[in-house]
């Protein structure tokens, strides 16, 4: 027998009593009268910044406005014409080191905790973490109340489309604010191993 079969058989034999799966449909999860306002508040609470792309303003202008000293800008989004690096075409992930600002796209935000769902949409996901500063584009209509709604949406999307949720890249992440740590004497420091700042860019729709 293989180790897998050994382990499963032993486990099966050792279970005394099997308990039923609880009903999860009656969870009275928090909702908000204005999910967008709550999302913005939570994004700030976790150390992020939220800006809105003004009508007629170009994304390049907004990037320049938010990060005036940035030299290396990495993005594979066609609307970012000021990009100096493209995570789809760089030689390897390491070549993205030294990126001042990375610009990526988020699918939807979660009001209760400021999380933004980011399925990998580039060859090198390193751009989401290796960049000193990260800008996440998010249509402001795409906000769910809580994580139950978030995961329900992901599960439903996969079922409906019949395709892989993770864009065939096999990776997706919820990001809420900048990388942080309190591992030295419990003092909160922004910018542990990944992005030192996160700016959420709310798009008109």
């Amino acid at each position: 027998m293989s180790t897998k079969e050994d382990i499963l058989k032993k486990y099966r034999n050792n279970v005394h009593e099997r308990y039923p799966m609880p009903d999860l449909s009656d969870i009275a999860a928090v909702t908000y009268t204005d999910p967008l306002a709550q999302f913005i508040e939570m994004s700030k609470a976790v150390g992020g910044r939220v800006v809105e792309l003004a009508e007629g303003q170009s994304l390049d202008d907004l990037i320049r406005q938010c990060y005036p000293d940035a030299h290396e800008i990495a993005s594979n989004l066609p609307e970012v014409t000021s990009a100096t690096r493209n995570p789809d075409t760089v030689e390897n992930a390491q070549a993205l080191n030294g990126t001042d600002v990375g610009i990526i796209r988020g699918c939807f935000g979660v009001a209760e905790n400021g999380c933004i769902w980011i399925p990998q949409h580039m060859q090198q996901k390193a751009v989401c973490f290796i960049s000193e500063n990260l800008m996440i584009l998010l249509p402001k209509s795409q906000i769910v109340n809580n994580m139950h709604e978030a995961y329900h949406r992901l599960r439903q999307a996969e079922k409906d489309s019949g395709t892989d949720l993770l864009n065939d890249y096999g990776y997706g992440t919820f990001i809420s604010g900048p990388s942080k740590t309190a591992d030295i004497a419990q003092v909160l420091v922004m910018g542990a191993q990944a992005a030192r700042s996160v700016t959420v860019v709310l798009l008109p729709q």
Partner: protein
């Protein structure tokens, strides 16, 4: 009469300033957790659901593990099964050797600590670099974690500053500012991420329905560890597999709120297969005792644990004695119980590190009866042969005393005599009760005599 734990705690308490800081720091984390819990009307409902999901899952784990492995393989991951620590270490080494890996970066994993993986790999010439800041600090210091979520909590910023100077990580001598030190560690670790051949992560959850490995961090180090290297190995204990995303939502909401008092970790990352430009993703499922523990009629529910750390944050004994006072590598209430499942002979000393206040089980997000379990372990010490002999002697004496009314009356009548004994005799090392506090004063009249005088009879 001191146990292994109380002797070690005495060392910890020698530095009173630090002991107070430790106590206050964890109490502050507990209060942050309370703010989060009270901020959600559904918190107690979530705890009920979380407990019930886990109960269901760990009693159907044979089915969910099979489903998880099948899905993960279909996604393109390579799945391995390890029955114990030795097999786990061999599997990991085998993968690394096959890919000619010289250096591996890794995110925090209590499982690799449990299996002693780092020393095993290092003895075979592989450099292992911890990338969670706290884990990196204690790795450089040659120490073990003293808390499962805040592993370097036993060190202050001066300790870390001096360590970084010694290791050449910081170059401004005497600058022990946590922001500066974190930045220097960032630069040093960045170089490790870029040059490693493999990245290892633990797993907070495995999702049976989709085959996802889910890793939650605040630093982004699990994501950095898997963004550059050609290989990703995920190490996961059997009990971390849950049915689906609906269940995950419950745990994702609770893990960080309970553990650190944050509404979420910064990153909640889902991995299904290797990156497009990487070679492989391996998942190693580890048993190492779990399939035995599920058979234990009184202690199987410990497998519900999601390793949030909230039971140690709230524990009055942990807060006042520190992680190193416990003999098992996981301290606090859950560690006492896991240690006893692992080896009662080795870890019985920890069961005394509990006041039975049950604060742990009132905060546990998956409602494990941690304190009740400690109590149950205590009842078994005699059977393990690890009962404290002087306590046992006293218990036997008390049993005799309480079952013979005439003997009891005589003893209470003479007990005030102890009051007139000179203090040096009472508060001496011969009297274990006097350790750490003054001996109590016996009343002149025992309670039943007072009751008689007042005409209070139990039958009245």
């Amino acid at each position: 009469m001191g146990t292994q734990h109380s002797k070690a705690a005495k060392e910890f308490l020698k530095n009173q300033d630090y002991a107070h800081w430790h106590d206050n720091t964890f109490w502050a984390v507990r209060q942050k957790r309370d703010n989060m819990a009270q901020g959600l009307d559904e918190w107690e409902q979530l705890r009920e659901k979380a407990s019930a999901i886990k109960r269901h899952t760990i009693t159907h784990l044979d089915q969910y593990l099979d489903e998880f492995a099948t899905r993960a393989e279909r996604n393109g991951a390579i799945v391995h099964w390890a029955k114990d620590a030795a097999e786990f270490n061999e599997i990991v080494y085998g993968i690394l050797k096959e890919h000619d890996v010289k250096k591996m970066v890794k995110s925090k994993s209590m499982l690799t600590e449990e299996c002693g993986m780092n020393p095993y790999l290092e003895a075979r010439g592989i450099e292992v670099v911890e990338t969670d800041l706290g884990e990196r600090i204690i790795q450089l210091k040659g120490q073990k974690p003293s808390h499962i979520v805040m592993p370097a909590i036993h060190l202050n910023h001066d300790d870390v500053g001096e360590l970084f100077e010694e290791k050449g990580i910081s170059d401004e001598k005497g600058n022990h500012d946590p922001t500066y030190l974190t930045y220097r560690a960032r630069l040093s670790l960045r170089n490790e991420f870029l040059t490693a051949d493999a990245g290892m992560t633990g797993a907070n959850f495995g999702i049976a329905e989709t085959g996802d490995i889910v890793v939650c961090t605040n630093e982004g180090n699990a994501d950095m560890s898997t963004s550059c290297p050609k290989l990703h190995i995920a190490a996961i204990g059997l009990e971390k597999v849950i049915p689906n995303y609906d269940c995950l939502a419950v745990f994702q909401r609770m893990l960080c709120r309970a553990g650190t008092g944050q509404p979420t970790t910064t990153y909640t990352s889902h991995f299904r297969k290797a990156r497009p430009t990487a070679e492989q993703m391996h998942i190693v499922l580890v048993d190492n005792g779990r399939s035995d523990w599920i058979a234990n009629p009184e202690h199987w529910e410990i497998l519900k644990c999601i390793r949030c750390g909230s039971c140690m944050n709230t524990c009055p004994v942990y807060r006042r004695s520190g992680g190193y006072s416990y003999s098992y590598f996981i301290p606090g209430p859950v560690g006492i119980n896991l240690g006893m499942l692992r080896s009662p002979l080795q870890h019985s000393g920890n069961v005394s590190a509990c006041t039975l206040c049950l604060s742990c089980q009132s905060v546990c997000p998956v409602k494990i009866d941690l304190g009740d379990q400690v109590y149950k372990w205590r009842q078994q010490l005699d059977e393990f042969g690890t009962a404290n002999s002087s306590k046992k002697l006293m218990c036997n004496a008390m049993t005799t005393l309480f079952s013979h009314p005439s003997l009891y009356k005589m003893a209470t009548a003479v007990s005030p005599l102890a009051n007139i004994l000179p203090p040096f005799l009472i508060n001496s090392s011969l009297n274990p009760w006097a350790e750490g506090h003054d001996m109590m004063k016996f009343p002149k009249k025992p309670f039943h005599e007072m009751a008689k005088d007042l005409n209070i009879s139990p039958k009245a």
